[in-house]
């Protein structure tokens, strides 16, 4: 499939640290993204362990409230911007050129830059734990007035957001351009794999909303230091205005973190069902509908801050409307499995679990969309349960599925299937032990972001904490499996999954450093 190179310098690449600092290769950069996001996942996971340690029993045991709030805030920020988003970009880097038969990403140098901005942002964000006043403690949503009152750690977070935003915008422009311009001859848009479609739409969302977040945090910065009154009523501004601007970014951001997961599922489920994806066209249209709707639902995050009833009704109905295209996807996956010759290797186990658990998260989202219900549940653990069902058992577990699915292609080795299944069952069970009880504590009225709670919530919190510790420890097993697979293992062969039909499986495993320098022709 690969042609003999004409420019020999393209095949020379420096070794050691220089290779990783200067690389323009989409596979190297994909690896960098994935390693970075794994490190951030473990760090932010460790923060969650500390949170659950404090919440193991009522009363203040280990952390002062301010430090506790730093832990929850940083857990959220790092998981979103450091773990989930870069992990998906890592998949995009590795897979999109392979899946569309492109020689690399459209802008290889910019690709390097979009990655190497992230460690700089991480230095600022994580370094804020060490400065006077500590890290941000006002929640990942960065609401004023708390974010206007904090110390230097808040400025560091704002700059980190700027740099991460730049990284996302550059990365997304690269992805969009690659998909629109570098497809192999014959691969029309309605033939590209579903994963590529979901990333095209995700990248569009990123280019549309990351600048809005940049605007929002810039206004925070000027309110903090340059005397503007954007979010101060005394000057005619409004703190609620920040929430509107933030959630105009924040809600599409939710789909930025789930659409690529849908793409991974839509790749894995057909493979292990040994059937083509059911309803490819409807899947494309559903993804696009979710993206378009995501721009007109943002205020459902703010039902309790006060808005006209007409606004509440509008945002309630548009939010419920999103259940339609999402339902289309869920039913398409089930229909793909229907009468398929299904086998349950680790990637498929994760994928099926995601369908079930994400659907639970989707339903609790519908519950929260109902204005009178939301007013009861705002800022309770019910919300925490909801977004962990969509973000952990939706996004994070899809990432795990994708890692198991493509590791053989990337490394040339099979991972250990037994250990993989152990990791799956431990993760799936511990996840439910951790987060399912939060539905109950939330319905009973336990507020989120508090280090101490009423005695009536003690049992459920202890159960959640035990589940969380198991969940956290299981991810060390994941790390072990991945490292072991990179170092060696059974040779994977060209196509370890017999049901797979995308282009990357026509290449040898591990994939050569340069691939598709001459584009394959698609029938």
């Amino acid at each position: 499939m690969t042609a003999i190179a004409l420019d020999s310098h393209e095949h020379d690449h420096p070794s050691g640290i220089r290779r990783w600092l200067t690389t323009t290769n989409h596979k190297d950069i994909g690896t960098l993204y994935l390693c970075f996001s794994f490190a951030m996942f473990l760090f932010a996971g460790a923060l969650a362990m500390l949170v659950r340690t404090e919440l193991f029993e009522p009363g203040l045991q280990f952390f002062q409230p301010n430090l506790f709030n730093q832990l929850t805030t940083m857990h959220g920020l790092i998981m979103i911007f450091g773990a989930i988003m870069p992990a998906f970009v890592g998949f995009a880097n590795w897979q999109i050129p392979l899946m569309i038969g492109a020689p690399d990403m459209a802008f290889p140098r910019l690709n390097n830059w979009s990655f190497w901005l992230l460690p700089m942002a991480a230095l600022l964000l994580l370094g804020s734990f060490l400065v006077p006043g500590g890290a941000v403690a006002g929640g990942w949503t960065m609401y004023p007035p708390l974010y206007i009152q904090g110390g230097i750690g808040y400025d560091m977070t704002i700059f980190a957001i700027h740099i991460m935003g730049l990284s996302s915008i550059i990365g997304s422009i690269n992805i969009i351009t690659t998909i629109l311009n570098l497809r192999a001859p014959g691969m029309i848009m309605m033939k590209i794999p579903m994963f590529v479609w979901t990333w095209l739409i995700t990248a569009y969302l990123l280019v549309a909303v990351m600048p809005v977040l940049a605007s929002a945090v810039t206004m925070l910065l000027t309110d903090r230091h340059f005397g503007t009154h954007f979010f101060n009523a005394a000057g005619g501004g409004d703190p609620v205005m920040f929430q509107h601007i933030f959630w105009f970014f924040g809600h599409p951001e939710v789909y930025i973190m789930i659409l690529p997961a849908f793409g991974i599922l839509s790749t894995i489920i057909p493979t292990f069902s040994r059937k083509p994806l059911f309803g490819y066209h409807s899947m494309v249209y559903a993804t696009a509908s979710i993206a378009i709707l995501s721009f007109v639902v943002w205020a459902h995050h703010m039902f309790t801050v006060g808005m006209p009833a007409a606004g509440q009704l509008f945002f309630m109905y548009t939010t419920m409307l999103i259940a339609v295209p999402t339902g289309v996807k869920v039913f398409n996956w089930i229909a793909t499995m229907w009468q398929g010759a299904i086998s349950f290797e680790t990637p498929m186990l994760f994928s099926v679990a995601v369908i079930c658990l994400f659907t639970i998260g989707g339903f609790s989202g519908l519950v929260l969309a109902v204005v009178p219900v939301d007013i009861q549940l705002q800022d309770t653990y019910y919300v925490v349960a909801h977004f962990h069902y969509v973000l952990f058992s939706g996004a994070a577990m899809s990432i795990m599925a994708g890692v198991y699915y493509w590791l053989p292609k990337w490394t040339g080795h099979m991972y250990n299937e037994t250990l993989g299944q152990w990791h799956f069952w431990l993760t799936a069970i511990a996840f439910n032990i951790t987060f399912f009880p939060m539905h109950f504590t939330g319905l009973a009225g336990m507020p989120r972001r508090v280090p101490d709670y009423a005695l009536q919530f003690a049992e459920f919190n202890m159960i959640s904490s035990i589940g969380a510790f198991v969940l956290g420890a299981s991810q060390l097993l994941f790390l072990y499996i991945v490292v072991k697979c990179i170092r060696g293992g059974m040779p994977a062969g060209e196509k370890p999954w017999d049901g797979a039909d995308t282009l990357e499986w026509t290449l040898p495993s591990p994939v050569p450093y340069h691939t598709f320098e001459t584009a394959p022709v698609i029938r």
Binding site: P103, I169, S215, G235, G237
Partner: protein, 274 residues
């Protein structure tokens, strides 16, 4: 030169240099915000590193372009890239305009209705908010801003005229057009600075001052960037770069110039006029 395949650049140091530059800039700014004078030196260092990176990186791209390494497909990539970059800029300004509209049509009228909280507050735009006692004169539309509108619109027409010159390989028309565009851009910035100098309100003058200076300030920064890019293009034209067929760098900068033009029109209507 084989251009049958898509050009893939060799490993490059420029991106990591750019990352270091931004981290240095951010760290310097952080120190300045803490009133530490070392911050300005750090920021200066960051700016220098950034400038080196921009020269080095764009220089490499220009050399590759002249060497004929880019085929038509690479050209299309650059077009998509620039279009989406401008779209991201549009969204950045959209958020600031959103803040302006929200303040004018929701936040300020609601403050006026809160008679218990802010008795006697006259919630008409422009306002510095109920907590402010200072009075100020809002910027009138039909003085300098109207002249600036004329200047920027005609500069947009002239840059297109320059483009026609390039397409006909009339280098003189191209050079005159570009130089005139740059001149008009500089006059625009100068008039804008003069307007800031005349203003009796500041960034701190409530929501009016905040939205006014943030919107016009970011726009002014973009015009400045546009002028710098136009100067680079003029330098390249004088150095004999570009052909009638292949001159995307010129087109990209003119797209950018039209973009700042359109943003200005919206500014003129919604910030100055209405």
């Amino acid at each position: 030169m084989d251009t049958s395949r898509y050009y893939l650049p060799a490993p490059s140091w420029w991106p990591i240099v750019g990352s270091v530059a931004l981290l240095t800039l951010a760290s310097g700014f952080l120190l300045l915000l803490q009133r530490m004078p070392a911050g300005s030196y750090l920021m200066l260092a960051g700016a220098v590193i950034l400038a080196v990176m921009l020269f080095g990186w764009f220089g490499a791209v220009i050399r590759e372009g002249i060497a004929g390494r880019y085929n038509g497909q690479v050209d299309v990539s650059y077009r998509w890239g620039m279009s989406w970059f401008i779209f991201s800029e549009v969204m950045f300004f959209a958020a600031l305009f959103g803040a302006l509209f929200y303040a004018r049509y929701f936040a300020v009228p609601w403050l006026g209705q809160a008679s218990l909280l802010w008795p006697g507050y006259n919630s008409t735009w422009p306002t510095a908010g109920p907590g402010s006692l200072a009075s100020f004169t809002p910027m009138a539309a039909w003085g300098i801003p109207a002249i600036n509108t004329l200047i920027l619109l005609s500069s947009g027409a002239i840059v297109t005229w320059a483009h026609w010159g390039l397409k006909k390989d009339n280098r003189l028309q191209l050079k005159i057009g570009l130089a005139l565009t740059i001149l008009l851009g500089v006059i625009f910035i100068a008039l804008q600075a003069y307007e800031y100098f005349l203003a009796d309100f500041s960034l701190k003058t409530g929501i009016y001052g905040a939205t006014f200076y943030m919107l016009t300030g970011f726009h002014g920064a973009h015009v400045t960037l546009g002028v710098i890019m136009l100067v680079v293009i003029l330098g390249r034209v004088i150095a004999g770069h570009f052909s009638e067929k292949r001159h995307f760098a010129f087109e990209a900068v003119s797209w950018y110039w039209h973009f700042v033009d359109v943003v200005w029109l919206l500014l003129f209507v919604f910030v100055y006029w209405l």
